[in-house]
Symmetry: C2
């Protein structure tokens, strides 16, 4: 007997089989995947985010077809056990090809990030179809990360941990630079650390930190204020995402008090991540700590989001997400406290639910560092 390392193609094939089982459970006839991450999850291929249609037509039974612009067909690694390549030329209407493959079907699920132009074009061509979201079929599979996927997430997390430590040690200049300059610095470090792509590098100083998705701008960072940095990228197909705050000098008493509460809430939230707990219960226990301390009105977003091939994906750590944690679920725990016009703070780590309890992938220190410069 020989032992054999499974081919990547074998793993993709087993994913396709699992999707087909899920399609049967959800009574979906065909799944249509374009830009977004479901397509590479099943085929290894990323569609170009342009106006020429790339679409995998995956029926519940029978061979799948990858409809792809002829001039991009050479980019596709053939996977004849999964799909046939169907190249289309520049004067063909590819939606007609897809619609022809979908005649007489009653229920079709479409990938979440498929461009509206294509969805509208299909709705127009197939008026009697009942339309669904492919995430209902594929999301549950993507939530359960394999060992290999967790290792990829851990490697990406380690890379941004090192950047966070550089920030906390004062190695990254802050005072006198604009938020945009520090954001560009973080972006360069994200790439230098081995990510292929920067997904975001939020830098928000002082009162700007009270806007959770602040766009870093020309605001110059001053002494004695909080600087919130939330950054991440994609490394070998998997995402990192971390938030740390530092203070450029003296930490004001009100800020220090709130940060103590925040750290405690985040710790409680992380430790709540046991298999069998619901996503909304992790949100609830985290939120409770902040509410009990009197900051409830200033925690204006969900506690976290799933992470994997995508920076935000199922499940969501939010009231109303009743899904129950399973081994391999990866998600952020990132409570925040935002006082409009004054300051904002957030603390974020990526956590994986395991049989041995929650495992943090980020290990940069979590205290509020004063960075004297």
């Amino acid at each position: 007997m020989t032992s054999k390392v499974p081919l990547v193609e074998d793993e993709l094939i087993s994913r396709v089989e699992a999707v087909r089982q899920s399609m049967a459970d959800h009574e979906i006839d065909t799944v249509l995947l374009s830009v977004g991450h479901d397509l590479p999850y099943l085929t290894g291929y990323y569609a170009m985010p342009l106006e020429r249609l790339t679409m995998l037509v995956l029926p519940r039974n029978g061979q799948a077809s990858l409809v792809v612009p002829a001039l991009e067909a050479p980019r596709v690694a053939p996977m004849p056990r999964i799909f046939d390549v169907v190249p289309w030329g520049e004067t063909t209407e590819p939606l007609d090809l897809v619609a022809d493959m979908c005649r007489h079907l009653s229920r079709i699920a479409v990938g979440d990030q498929t461009w509206g132009r294509f969805v509208i074009g299909l709705v127009q061509r197939l008026p009697s179809v009942e339309w669904r979201r492919a995430v209902d079929v594929i999301g549950p599979l993507r939530m359960r990360k394999t060992e290999h996927e967790i290792a990829s997430l851990a490697a990406a997390a380690k890379a941004v941990d090192d950047i966070a430590i550089a920030l906390q040690s004062g190695e990254i200049p802050l005072v006198g630079r604009t938020e945009a300059e520090v954001s560009a610095d973080l972006s360069a470090r994200i790439l230098a650390a081995g990510h292929q792509k920067v997904n975001f590098a939020i830098v928000a100083a002082g009162e700007n930190a009270a806007s959770p998705h602040h766009h870093p701008g020309e605001r110059v960072i001053r002494s004695d204020e909080v600087v919130l940095c939330d950054f991440g990228g994609t490394m070998n197909g998997y995402c990192s995402d971390i938030t740390r705050c530092v203070v450029t000098g003296t930490i004001a008493a009100d800020l220090a008090a709130a940060y103590e509460v925040l750290m405690n809430a985040q710790e409680i939230g992380v430790q709540a991540g046991h298999i069998g707990e619901s996503c909304e219960s992790v949100d609830a226990v985290t939120r409770q700590v902040i509410s009990d301390a009197g900051y409830g009105e200033f925690f204006i977003h969900r506690t976290g989001h799933g992470i994997g091939m995508e920076e935000h994906e199922d499940p969501y750590i939010v009231d109303g997400d009743e899904r129950v944690l399973e081994a391999g679920f990866a998600y952020s725990v990132e409570p925040g406290i935002y006082v409009p016009g004054k300051w904002g703070i957030r603390l974020e780590d990526i956590v994986v639910a395991t049989d041995d309890g929650p495992r943090r992938l980020n290990n940069a220190p979590r205290a509020l560092f004063s960075v004297l410069q």
Copy 2:
């Protein structure tokens, strides 16, 4: 009397008025805009490409509403003369808000890049609506670039011209580096030249150049082969896009002969761009030069695409696009010749149709340079 520089908001308002006129012409009741470029074209605001819905609900009459995640509301510059801000909290379903605003409407147009999850959600909630594409309403306006927009395109074009000249002068090392390394070098130069974003930096060596949308990889560039570089970014909201080829040493006779044909075809194509000519006729005359020289089967894509806020936008220089050039239309002219397994070449400039005839925005030399290193 005082003369006044028009406010940016005034320009946005006049665009909104033009869109409403176009909605009336197309009998569209409401336009829904999310990620993509129609939203910033009308409001200056770019939606975050994430799972939380941002959507402008623009009715034909009456005030528009910008439905936006509460935690992103601080990013929005208020434009009370155009829209009300409608922030939604983390436990609200924003599609319900949008659907409520669209009850009793019969025809709704959706932005081209709106995520499928939102389009499907709306189709499910509003089953009796006739769905259209917003590009039919807004695209005709976006095609006619103003002087200011043309100046922005010209500035971006000048920036990539300088990079092309660096490439042609041998300043950018090629031989011994991988395509991916040269692509990263071009990307860094695109940012250093003042773009905020790299859109693509295709580098394809030798036989890889026969794949028009080749993904730069670990292939090491050798001596005496063609290197095709197609790169561009976004500078202050407007895109650049240029293609130049160089040869790392001796130019083979077959390549030189084909390149002569290509240069001639591109020149003919550019010069054909007079107001009143159809897009498909520009494609036809360009293609004719290549076909007449016997390379017709190797020119496997359209001649070009519109360009503006988006790297590819209406109109398309392709058989079947019967739209007629008007003053201010900006588009690429980029014929190519691709011999599978051997080499590929492409030559691309951005052109604007003006009352005085076609105006090239790119002015880097168009000859096939030998770059001895």
